[in-house]
Symmetry: C2
Subunit: 115 residues, 2 copies
């Protein structure tokens, strides 16, 4: 129940757990770049990653766009830290709202990578 209004300094606005919309989550994950970002975050196992640490073949401005979509869909959390912006998966919030969803998608992404 993290309200979208009370945010620690440096944390960018994000939807509360009970405000997550399935349609937005699926739309966010329907793009290959964003799906890859989420997969790499999942592989990082909770470690925060800055925006340029991903193997996605797009420019910085496109990356910025994707990270905003992911954050506004509630998939990731973003915190400013120095000149970097650290990203982490909202694993717990998503598991609360949509049990099993993120796990099965990440697992599917892994088996799908071996197309």
């Amino acid at each position: 129940m993290t309200a979208a209004h009370e945010e620690p300094p440096g944390r960018l606005p994000e939807p509360a757990t009970d405000e997550l919309r399935l349609e937005c989550v699926l739309h966010a994950l329907a793009d290959p770049s964003r799906l890859r970002i989420v997969a790499e975050l999942a592989d990082a196992g909770g470690t925060e990653l800055n925006c340029l640490a991903f193997e996605v073949p797009v420019t910085k401005s496109t990356l910025t766009h994707h990270f905003r979509v992911l954050r506004e869909a509630g998939l990731i959390r973003q915190c400013r830290r120095g000149t970097s912006k650290m990203n982490s998966l909202r694993t717990a919030d998503l598991a609360t709202r949509f049990p099993g969803l993120l796990d099965s998608i990440v697992t599917a992404a892994r088996t799908d990578a071996a197309h």
Copy 2:
């Protein structure tokens, strides 16, 4: 992707189980009309439904479009039966290729309906 398979007469072409692409599945489900169709099919519990049996507020031509997207993504199976076209979820195939994925999405769709 058009599948080259032994298809029974009346069955429309669909991707094989090992050809299912996660990106296509997620894209197909990212639309509210299509998500609803899948949810209603899941609620039907395996019963085949014709195209006009869904509570989706779009015209027939748009419905046709959505059903084709769902079939080409491998989510549903379509069989001609008289003047109707019967639709069913490819539950087993999806569970084989992406274990738990469809279940968690359908479950999420149900809890999300209580917006």
